[in-house]
């Protein structure tokens, strides 16, 4: 870009000088133009910059939603909730478990019995080509808001909390959340009380990461 500053245009000259104070090295500041003199013009470089705001969320219609009905909890189960991210920046995904496991409502069970079945939540995040996929797994109990030893990706997601995918993920990359458990063994937390309604809700959130 080239700008000629005429003496009668004092105001424009001042603009150019002021801009040079911020946009050019300090040494260039001493120059001034004189009509018919030398130099008769000042060259001012005006950088042109722009930005694109970060966008981060789930792809339209591809958020992690849905329900899975596990079999009898004394048998193993495994299910994937597929979702797609739409982030043009590095991002974090986090999960919160409402119950910290599959919980059956009702009165607290007797000693030696349990109404909370453990299971594992695994996050698998896929990014654009060149972005390394990431994976992490935690027990659902460590994803509850009251967890004594919270999982590294317990939510809600923020710029610093959640599993980090260190690059953008377009709408075509398929990520998933897996819930699974081996066949329940009574030796750990007691005998699971009979109930038709063990349940948990997982809130999955995504945030841009800085």
């Amino acid at each position: 870009m080239r700008m000629c500053i005429q003496p009668r245009r004092h105001r424009l000259c001042a603009v150019a000088l002021a801009a040079s104070m911020w946009l050019a090295p300090a040494g260039a500041f001493a120059q001034s133009a004189v009509a018919g003199g030398s130099p008769s013009e000042i060259r001012v470089a005006l950088p042109v910059t722009a930005s694109v705001a970060s966008q981060c969320g789930f792809a339209a219609g591809a958020a992690p939603n849905g329900a899975y009905a596990a079999p009898n909890l004394y048998a193993a189960f495994n299910h994937n909730f597929v979702f797609r991210l739409a982030c043009n920046v590095p991002l974090r995904v986090a999960v919160v478990s409402a119950n910290g496991g599959l919980r059956a409502s009702g009165a607290p069970p007797a000693a030696g019995y349990s109404n909370l079945a453990p299971y594992v939540v695994e996050l698998n995040l896929a990014g654009n080509v060149g972005v390394t996929s990431v994976r992490a797994a935690c027990a659902a109990r460590d994803l509850s808001a009251a967890a004594a030893a919270p999982c590294s990706f317990r939510g809600p997601a923020s710029t610093t909390r959640g599993l980090l995918l260190n690059g953008p993920s377009s709408q075509s990359a398929e990520s998933y959340l897996r819930v699974s458990a081996p066949a329940y063994a009574d030796s750990g937390d007691g005998i699971l009380v009979a109930s038709p309604a063990y349940a948990d809700t997982l809130i999955v959130s995504v945030s841009a990461s800085l």
């Binding site: 105001r11 001042a14 603009v15 002021a18 801009a19 104070m21 911020w22 946009l23 950088p47 705001a53 970060s54 981060c56 969320g57 789930f58 958020a63 992690p64 939603n65 849905g66 329900a67 899975y68 009905a69 596990a70 009898n72 909890l73 004394y74 299910h79 909730f81 979702f83 920046v89 599959l102 059956a104 069970p109 007797a110 030696g112 019995y113 079945a117 299971y119 809600p156 997601a157 923020s158 710029t159 009574d186 030796s187 005998i191 699971l192 009380v193 009979a194 109930s195 309604a197 063990y198 349940a199 948990d200 809700t201 809130i203 999955v204 959130s205 995504v206 945030s207 841009a208 800085l210």
Partner: protein, 202 residues
Amino acid sequence: MNNMEPNMKQIVLAALAAALGAVAAPASAQTVAGEVSVHGFVAPRCGATYAAAPSFQGMIELGELSQSNGTLSPALQGSSDTAPAGVASFLVGCTGGAAQITLSASRLANPVEPGNSNSSNDIDYTAEIRIALAAGGFATVDYTTAQPLPAPTVESIAHVFANVAGNFQVRVFGLNAENGPASILVAGDYDSTITITVAPPV
């Protein structure tokens, strides 16, 4: 130039603002969320041991049954639920209350026939299951052998079992020789089988 100074300040501020605006906008802390739910169930069931084995077994060894004169030992005859002749313990668990217990037993029998009414090769007795309950206390289920064998005892236990080792204690007591306490026991091995079925409520 002096009359320009106020304008210069304004322009410098404007340039500063423009310079700040030229820096890439930071990633906003926008957060969006999805929700998934997971459901499951636990069917009523019963099992033995923590591994929920479908069966359990053990042995009650009563030892020598006769006293020196060949008749049934008075200690065995006089045994009771509080002082049983033999005991075996198991861990049995159910996922809920109202489990149904079915108990039966065969007579303690020697396959060698006595040959006369003054001898006995069959001994009747009472088998009892003493069940520790999670709420405290015990429930008992009894079955006494006879000729012919009575129908199995079937009882529903309303409360859940205590989930502790040995919550099922099988006791044997009150032995009686078939032909009376004065009958001579036929020499040989005596065997009996106690059969226990624990089932969740239908």
